[in-house]
Structure formats: C-alpha cells, structure tokens
C-alpha cells in the first residue's frame, strides 16, 4: 500500500468506528448527531474539497460532485425532516471511499506486477578503466566501447561478445523461459539478463538505438493509440454525468409539482430522497475506471508473453481478425536454407557453388547466405566485380573475369540461356557462366516446428482464412502450404507484388473483419503498414520492422500469432462484459429508484459493488499465460 492509501485506510477505520458508535449505542440525539458529523467529515472531507475545487475550475460534473451533492442533500433532508438519522449520508460516503480505496489498491498492485516483469531498462553500463570497473550512464557509452556485464546484471547495449561464456535469460524480452548460451563472437541484445559468467561486450549500437530502448519507447507510447471503446467511454462520461444530474433534478421537482397541480400532497421529501439516491447510483466510476484498466491489463498481459501491441486500437482490431496473411520465409519456415543438391552441372560441384556464392556475396538474402555456407569458409570478395541485383530474379556479376548469372528461370530467359526444369522441391538457383547454362542448385527451406500447430491454433481461434505469400516458386509454395494446412497460396511474387496482393485481399474482406499480415520484418515493411494489422516476428534487432508493425512478436515462434489474437479476444470480451454489466445494473437500479423500490443503502451497494466487480473483471485481462 502506498502512503496515500494507508492514510485513507486509517480515515475509513476511524469513520467506521464513529459511525458504528452513533448507530448502535443509544445516545442522546445531539451526541449521536455530532458523532455522525465527525464520521462524515473524517471520511468525506477530501470528496467535498475536490467537488468544490471542481466547481471553481468549471469541471463540475464528476463523481466527486455527485457524491458530495447526494450526501449533503441527504443530511439536509434529515435536518429538514428532523429525523435525526444521518446514517445514510455517512454510509454512502463510507462505502464510496471503501470502494475507491479497494480500486486504487487493486489497480496499483496489478500495475506494479506488470511493470516489474517488463522492467528491462538498464540503469548503468560497466566500463573498465585502469583495472577498475566504473558505472556509467548507458547513454554516454560510444559505439565500439567494450563494456563488462557481470552475472545478475542486464545487458545495457546491443553488441558482440568479445570474451567470456555465459547463459542469458531472455524471458523479459521474449517470454521464452529457456536460457540462451553465448560465447565469444555471438551477438547479444540489450535487455537480457546475464546469469552465470562475466561477459566482455563490444558494443555495436548506441544506447538510443539498442533493442531495449526501442522496446521501451514502443511500450511507453502504446497509450497514444486509443481504441474505439475507450474514446466511446470518455465521450460517454462527458454526456452521461450532466444528463443524470439533470434527470435527478427533474425527478426532485417535476413529480411533486405535478402532484401539487393535481391537488394531491406534493410529498417533496420522498421525491428529493429518490433524486439523491438516483445520484448515488448513477456514478459512472465502474465504467470510466474499468474500461481503460481492461485495456492496460490486456496490453500488459500481452507484453508479458512477448507480444508487444502498439496501442489499444490495434488490440481491438486484432480481436476482429478473420484473415491472416503470412510471408513464407522466416515466418512459417525458418529462413535457414540449406543446399540439398546440385544438378546438371558440367563443372565440379564445388566450383559451381563457389561461383554462385561469390556472385551472391553482396546479398543478405537467406538464399545467398546458404550458398555462402555451402561454398565453405570465407570468400575473397575482391574476386567479384560489377554485381547487379535483379529484384525477384537473381544477380549477375563478374567473377574472376567471367560473367556469372545466378537466379531463377525468369533471369535465365531474360539472358537468353536455355535452362532445365528441376523436379526437386525447393528453391532452385540456376547458374549461367559466360552465357552458358551451368546447372542448378537446389536449396530447401526448413519449416518451423510449430508452424502446422500455429495454423491449426489460428483456425481454432476463429480465423477463417489463411493466405501465404512468397517470392518462392509455385511448386515449393504449394508443397509447404499443403503440408501446413494454409488455405491459399500466392507464389512467385516480387516484393512489390505482395502489397498489391494484400490490397486485393483487403478489398475482398467483409465489413468489420480485419486482415493481419505476418512478416519477419525483412523487406516487408510496406506490406506491414498496408495491412489492417502488421505483425512483425522475431523483431529483436530489426528497427524497420518495429517501426512499421502494429504488433511486434519478440521471438519467431508462429504460435504467438494465435496467442496474440486470443489475448485480444479475451480483453475485448472483458471490455464488453463490463460495459453491458455496469450499464445494465445501473439502469435497472435507476428505474427501481425512480419508481420508489430502492433506498440509498441499496444505491450505494449497487454503485460500489458494480465498480468492485468491474475492476476485478478488468484485472482478469492480465491473466493470459494459459490461453
């Protein structure tokens, strides 16, 4: 409990003692009245003060004003009727404050539990100077500095391990509980916790550009994108509170006037009492507190699972996702390609692989990487000149003075080289040397172990259509799609085609359904921003993806996509439950009061009870681990 909450608790306890004494002990009327007043002021003075300040600042209609008017009114009524029973006014204030205290305690507790888990901000970096470790602000560490990370400390800046062996806990970043082993030469990202050994890290980025800063920035800005439900609630509260105040006023004045006109007893006391009860019930706390809280809890719970959602509007959109479009490479497949065969080559396989690898040496595409790996060892880049990339087709280059073309059938046709179709499943790189066909290399990609389950989980979560887009050839694409259970395939696409395909799919979407695009963040930033929801996977270290995407999955497990959708569904369901439940109970009670079936006691229980239930329900959005 914070200091403020403790103080409130003591005030509530003191007021409760005074209240019970006045209520239960038979005392002379002036004494019990004094006790009631003491109790009322002890517990309610801040509400009265806030209501008064609100009036002065012309922010009249808030819950403080409602409570102040209702309780002061009830006291005035008791004075007027000389009943000497002030218990209702005191009880209303007392229960209202108990509800507020509970609410603030519950909210604070869940807030801290989320922030503690997501607390990845490193406070300092260690730099060795004259044999001593010195703690400096991570912001002041220049790129290329060697920093020391001791066991138990957070890695403050992205870098490469220079010396040392250790295991890293990446749970705060990825939600993945399995620790990762690192040794010299491995890249490490900031925000991980070093567990076992001392590491010397050569920093490759400034703190502001490091993964941890990017993620923190993303989380801190996530509240700037408000969902429709949230803006609805704030607009609603602006209209609702004045509306109930005027209705209460009408309820206090109109029926007695009508009765007077018709010649009956006006009975002002009863109608004013009903109007005051009306005010107590109508307090919109349950809604205005629980709806934003549900979204915060949903975003926080998702973050805890390694799913960063950039704002509650995306959470809302995610819950309406009906179509999920995947980029194949790096999303459903590992993007780790291996050379599986070399066919129709007139020269030695090693020679062909070397030519291909050298021609592709400037590219960071996974295919090029696998060629380089198959060619074995470091390549002498000075042997290659005049490299030309042909987007979506391949490359041409001059290697050791001979022209080498490596790419797909389209490239071969463009160059006017006769080529052979290949019957193996995989990505085929055709090679032409000096304008002569020199055979082809078969490279196959490996599916991720969870891809098939992930597609099934998406279907179970209510996604009706899954589509796979790929630059790969039709045969490979069909094979992978059939194997994984993907509904539709669009293959042999150039990067620019992917945007066009997504736009086509967007047009075909029915009203209210949303389309999500999942990519690994390499080359697909335009598609990520074009889709209703762009989901970037394994985005750690890829700045472009973090910026273009609306949802960032911290690791590259495709199961997280279904999880993100389930989390959003749960959160939105809770929001709807709270809206319907709070408004329903309130409207019912308001009706009962207006008709005279309920008193102020019932009113306060309806108000505080609904708020407590709504807050507890909202906090449920945090528990998403087992979804």
């Amino acid at each position: 409990m914070t200091k403020k909450q403790k103080k409130m608790l003591y005030r509530i306890l003191a007021a409760a003692v005074l209240f019970l004494a006045a209520k239960l002990i038979p005392l002379p009327a002036p004494v019990s009245a004094a006790l009631y007043f003491a109790a009322y002021l002890t517990v309610g003075c801040d509400i009265l003060r806030k209501a008064w300040k609100g009036i002065c600042n012309r922010q009249v209609f808030d819950e403080n004003f409602l409570m102040a008017v209702a309780t002061v009114g009830a006291i005035a009524l008791a004075l007027y009727e000389r009943s000497g029973d002030y218990s209702e006014a005191v009880a209303v204030m007392l229960f209202y404050q108990i509800g507020e205290l509970f609410q603030s305690y519950a909210v604070g507790k869940s807030r801290r539990s989320i922030t503690a888990l997501m607390d990845i901000r490193p406070d300092y970096a260690n730099i060795e100077r004259d044999g001593k470790l010195e703690q400096v602000d991570p912001d002041d560490v220049a790129v290329g500095t060697v920093i020391t990370v001791q066991p138990g400390e957070k890695v403050p800046i992205d870098g490469v391990v220079e010396d040392g062996v250790s295991t890293l806990n990446t749970a705060a970043l990825t939600g993945e509980s399995l620790p990762r082993d690192v040794s010299a030469g491995d890249e490490i990202i900031s925000g991980c916790i070093n567990m076992t050994g001392v590491l010397k890290v050569h920093t490759t980025k400034a703190f502001g550009e490091s993964t941890v800063s990017k993620i923190l920035e993303l989380m801190e800005n996530s509240s700037s994108h408000k969902s429709r439900s949230e803006s609805f609630i704030s607009r609603f509260a602006k209209v609702y509170t004045p509306a109930v105040c005027y209705s209460a006023l009408a309820l206090a004045i109109l029926p007695p006037l009508a009765l007077t006109v018709s010649g009956a007893d006006a009975d002002w006391g009863t109608w004013v009492y009903r109007a005051l009860t009306f005010l107590v019930i109508s307090c919109p706390c349950a809604l205005v507190i629980s709806i934003p809280l549900s979204f915060f809890a949903g975003l926080g719970g998702a973050g805890k699972e390694g799913v960063l959602i950039k704002g509650s509007n995306y959470l809302e959109a995610l819950s309406q996702t009906k179509t999920v479009v995947f980029d194949k490479t790096g999303t459903l497949t590992q993007g780790v390609f291996e050379v599986s065969a070399v066919h129709h080559s007139p020269m030695a396989q090693e020679k062909l692989l070397e030519y291909a690898a050298l021609a592709e040496c400037a590219s960071s595409h996974p295919i090029s990487k696998s060629l380089q790996k198959a060619a074995g060892g470091a390549l002498d880049r000075s042997r290659v000149t005049d490299i030309q990339e042909h987007s979506g087709r391949g490359v041409t280059a001059v290697v050791d003075g001979v022209t080498v073309a490596a790419g797909n059938g389209k490239l071969m046709e463009e160059l006017g080289v006769a080529w052979h179709e290949c019957h193996s499943v995989g990505t085929i790189v055709h090679i032409a040397v000096n304008g002569e066909y020199a055979g082809h290399i078969v490279i196959s990609d490996v599916e991720k172990p969870h891809s098939r389950d992930a597609i099934a989980a998406l279907k179970a979560a209510g996604v009706t259509k899954t589509v796979m887009l790929t630059g790969d050839i039709q045969k490979v694409a069909d094979y992978v799609a059939r194997d994984l259970g993907v509904d539709e395939v669009r293959a042999e696409l150039l990067p620019a085609d992917k945007v066009a395909r997504v736009e086509e799919l967007l047009k075909a979407e029915p009203e209210g359904a949303k389309l999500a695009f999942v990519g690994d963040g390499i080359n697909d930033a335009p598609v990520l921003s074009r889709a209703d929801i762009g989901i970037a996977m394994g985005a750690m270290g890829s700045d472009a993806a973090i910026e273009a995407a609306d949802v960032v999955l911290m690791d590259d497990d495709p199961m997280k996509i279904a999880k993100a959708i389930k989390i959003s569904r749960k959160c939105i369901r809770i929001v709807h439950e709270n809206i319907v439940f709070s408004l329903g109970v309130k409207l019912l009670c308001l009706l009962l009061v207006a008709l005279g079936f309920a008193n102020m006691w019932m009113g306060i229980f309806a108000d505080v009870g609904v708020m407590v239930l709504a807050v507890l329900n909202a906090i449920r959005a945090l528990r998403v681990h087992d979804l």
């Binding site: 600042n57 807030r111 801190e220 509240s223 509260a237 934003p292």
Partner: protein, 72 residues
C-alpha cells in the same frame, strides 16, 4: 523536443484526463500519459521552454484531477 516525466496518478481514466489537459496546454505539441509505467511524455512546440510549459501543464492537470502529481 520530447521529454519524459515520472508522474503519479491513481486511475486509468484520470490518466486520460491528464493527457487531454496536457495536450491543451499552450506550448505543448503532443502529450502521452502512460498509466502503466506512470510516465508522461511531452513533445514541446518549437522554441518553448520546457520548464515554464511544464508548470502550466501541472497546473492544468491539477484542475482536472486534483490527486495527480508530475515530478519535474
């Protein structure tokens, strides 16, 4: 220019009210209040002194939510 300040606010709706109040303050280009991390990020309009602007922001926030605090 952007600056982030730690804040103290009890309820999510109050945080939204503070955000609105901060946005409407003169000299503020944009403001975001994050209830979860209890932080306010203010983007100042060109040529504004953050210190004077933040004083006005705090005053406006106090108007809508008396219980809030911004640690300048």
């Amino acid at each position: 220019m952007k600056k982030t300040y730690p804040i103290e606010v009890d309820c999510a709706n109050c945080a939204n009210l503070m955000e609105d109040a901060a946005k409407k303050t003169e000299g503020v280009a944009d403001a975001v209040v994050n209830f979860m991390t209890q932080k306010m990020t203010v983007e100042f309009a060109d040529g504004q002194d953050p210190k004077t602007v933040m004083k006005a922001v705090l005053k406006n926030c106090k108007k809508v939510e008396d219980d809030c605090e911004i640690y300048l």
